[in-house]
Every structure is written in structure tokens, then in C-alpha cells.
Amino acid sequence: MNENSEKHTSDSELGASDSQKIVIIKYNAGNIRSVLNALNRLGYEAEISADPEVIKSADKVIFPGVGEASTTMKYLRETGLDDLIVNLKQPVFGICLGMQLMCSWSEEGDVDCLGIFDEKVRKFQLPEGNPDNIKIPHMGWNSIYNVNSALFDDSLENEFVYFVHSFYVAKGPDTAATTKYIIEYSSALQKDNFYATQFHPEKSGSVGERILSNFLSL
């Protein structure tokens, strides 16, 4: 184990855990520990690492994130994590900023991103006159519908999950769940082994835990 890698287990019995290796990609973004805490609550161990060999050898990779797109992309390029992530073959789960960075371009800092999903990330625009007092960021609990991915079982249709974001991905061929806020947009994406949610499953109560479990069961 090197300095880029720390291993974490929960304090409680790891009853539901299996022997798979889960790695959370460590980079200059917040919220990584929340994901780890959520995995531990589900009885899984995980490693937080920026070591390419550790990430490549994982059974499941989680790419979380809260932060700013262009700064984070710059960091991923400098560390070579950009090529590494794009070429992963195991199931990869991008969360929030992680999902946005998996798209082709973001308006946040006008930056080219990883290009896994052929979608652009744009800022929410308030409607003319804003008669309904709509706020940006989109913050709080909203529902997901037309769910269409192994991340979601049918029971998750119309369930509420927790969002905090000002930028969104439009609906497209990779849309795996839809949410309405100002417009209908992609609250989840999936293509091949890449899964992503705009919302935070690690903060979405028991519904979020079911989504994380579904990913870990892939």
C-alpha cells in the first residue's frame, strides 16, 4: 500500500460484504468520504486510491465528486487519470461531478471532458421572468422516472433522490433515468460498463442504498 492508497473498513461487522475489490478514485474533490461511509453502511469495504495499478485491478470503480469541472479535468489530465478512467473495463460508477466529467464537454469552465458519453454539460437557465421562483442550484429531493439501467430495478421508478447541481446533461441515447427541473434531463446515464448518476446515491437514504447495492451486484 503506498501513500496514494488508504484502506477503510466500517466499525461494524461486514456482514453483507463479499470478496470483491471496490476502489473509490481519489482526486481533488470533496465528498469522497461520504461515498465510503455509504459503502460501509452496506457492509462493503473500499479503498480510496489514486494509484493506477490499484484502480485497474478493482472489480468495481467509483468516481465520485463535488467540485468545479475545469479545475478537476486539469487535475485528471496532469495525473493521467483521464486515460486510465476511459480505458477501464470493469463497472465504473460516476457520481454528480463524476458523471459530468464522463461527458464530452462542460460549460463549467468551457472544458473538454472524458468523452465516455457523447453529451454536453450545460448550465440550467431560469425561465423568462421566473414566475415560479425557481432556484439554482437544483438542490434537494426530486424524483427519477423512465429508469432504464441495471442500476435501477422497477421499484425505483418515481422514487426521490438527493440532488445538488447547477449544470445538467440533456436527454440522449445513453439516458438511464430522467428528472424534471426546469426541463427534463438525464439524471442517470449508462453506456457499456459506465454508469453514472447526477444525484447522490450516498445521500439518498434507503433508495440511494438500493442503487449502490445494484451497482455492487453487477
Partner: protein, 252 residues
């Protein structure tokens, strides 16, 4: 549709939950982690933990508590109390807090809002404002748990906090807090109209109708309360079913 949020607030002193009535007469009501987990299970949309321990030793206890909360609770939570510099916020972020709220320290040093937003993002920064009604549209901002009036007025200060990068406003009416006759809906509606960030209403919840009013008349995005939840006067599941029945968008 984006749901209106119901937020129980837990005041923490020496690691225990307390609730002051009109910010005096403090009474203990239980273990914060246990209570928080219970609220999360009952359908609370977020939790707020306010540390009212002033001492330095108390702060360390609070950071340890925040770590326990983060490990055990599966919904977002805000922590506040005694945050006056970046390093305080950094310790709480690392402990697992989703957001921090700042109050008196931001009034004394407004630049703190800019610094926090720049370093951690606006979504991490809740500007809490305690204010007392003066006359007409004038609300006097108070600090130190409502004890000290300041030169600042509610509406311009809230706008300034938004401009400096706050992600949400948590407004407590000192006239309504603990009185249980409803929220300060008129002032809340004006805040919601003036600002483009979410408004959390606090102070005055005593009945389920008060929440309906604060989401309609008060145009609030979230309603916060303490004692009515701690003393089981209004169970959260009942409140949410009632609001849903009244046509308020709610997460059931």
C-alpha cells in the same frame, strides 16, 4: 418535481441534543446520532446539527460527533456553531459534513462567506440569519443566539450573503421562535422573491398547517423545526402525509 424539505434541527451541547425555548431555558432531549438516524428513517429530508457549546474542548467533541453522524446517517446534514475560519469548516468537511452554516461570524466578517464559497463551493455554505422584527419591512439582524442586535437589516444582508456566495439562507425569526404560532411568512416570501438561492424557514412551527403556510404563503423551500419533532408533538410521517394531501410536493 422538486420536493419541499422538512428539516429537524438538533441543538448540541456537550454531545447531547438540547432545545432552548426562545434561546433560553435549555433542556436535554437525547443522543444526536440516534435521534438523527430515527428522523432519517421517518422521512426527514435533511438534518441540521447546531453546536451551542462555546468552549474549545467542546469543539473537538463536536467534530468527533460529526464523524459519527456521517458514518451512521444516510441523508444530507448541515452543521453549524462556532465556525469562524476556514480551518473550522475544513475540519467539519473532513469529518463528513455536507454543508456548514455560519451566523454571527459572517455578520462580523462577511468576507468569510466569500472565502468558504471559494474554497468549498457555494453548495457547502448556508448563511444562517437570526432577525427580530422592528417595524414595516425592517428586521434587525441579531447575533449570539439572538442576544445582541446589530446594524444589519435582514433583506440587504441576505442579498449580500447570496452575492458573496452563500448557497442557501436559513432565516430564523426571533419573534416567532419557540412561540409555535406559525412561521414569519411575509418576510420569508419577500426573501424568496428577492433571492435566487433556496430559503430555509425557521422559528414558529407549532402545527402541521404552519408548514403548509410556510411553503405556500411563505414560498420557502424548506421548513425547519426542533421541539415539535423532539417532543413528538408532530410525527414527521404524519406531517408529510398531511402536506402531500394538501398538494405540497413532498417526498413520501
Amino acid at each position: 418535481m422538486l420536493a419541499k424539505r422538512i428539516i429537524p434541527c438538533l441543538d448540541i451541547k456537550n454531545g447531547q441534543t438540547v432545545k432552548g425555548v426562545k434561546f433560553v431555558e435549555i433542556k436535554e432531549v437525547g443522543d444526536p446520532v440516534e435521534l438523527g438516524a430515527l428522523y432519517a428513517e421517518q422521512g426527514a429530508d435533511e438534518l441540521v446539527f447546531l453546536d451551542i457549546t462555546a468552549s474549545h474542548e467542546g469543539r473537538k467533541t463536536f467534530v468527533d460527533l460529526v464523524k459519527r453522524i456521517a458514518r451512521n446517517i444516510n441523508i444530507p446534514f448541515t452543521v453549524g456553531g462556532g465556525i469562524s475560519e476556514l480551518s473550522d469548516a475544513d475540519a467539519l468537511l473532513n469529518a463528513g459534513a455536507d454543508k456548514i452554516s455560519i451566523n454571527s461570524s459572517a455578520v462580523r466578517n462577511p468576507q468569510l462567506i466569500d472565502d468558504l464559497a471559494k474554497n468549498f463551493g457555494s453548495q457547502f455554505v448556508v448563511a444562517a440569519i437570526d432577525a427580530k422584527h422592528d417595524q414595516g419591512d425592517d428586521w434587525i439582524v441579531t447575533v449570539n443566539g439572538g442576544r445582541i442586535p446589530t446594524e444589519k437589516k435582514l433583506f440587504p444582508w441576505a442579498k449580500e450573503a447570496e452575492d458573496r456566495g452563500a448557497g442557501e439562507i436559513l432565516f430564523t425569526s426571533m419573534d416567532h421562535d419557540g412561540v409555535k404560532t406559525g412561521f414569519a411568512n411575509e418576510a420569508l416570501a419577500k426573501l424568496s422573491d428577492d433571492l435566487s438561492i433556496p430559503i430555509i424557514a425557521s422559528g414558529g412551527a407549532g402545527a402541521m398547517e404552519h408548514f403548509k403556510d410556510v411553503f405556500t404563503l411563505g414560498k420557502a423551500d424548506a421548513g425547519l423545526a426542533a421541539s415539535i419533532f423532539h417532543f413528538k408533538e408532530i410525527p414527521i410521517p404524519d406531517l408529510k402525509r398531511y402536506l402531500n394531501g394538501e398538494g405540497i410536493p413532498i417526498r413520501l
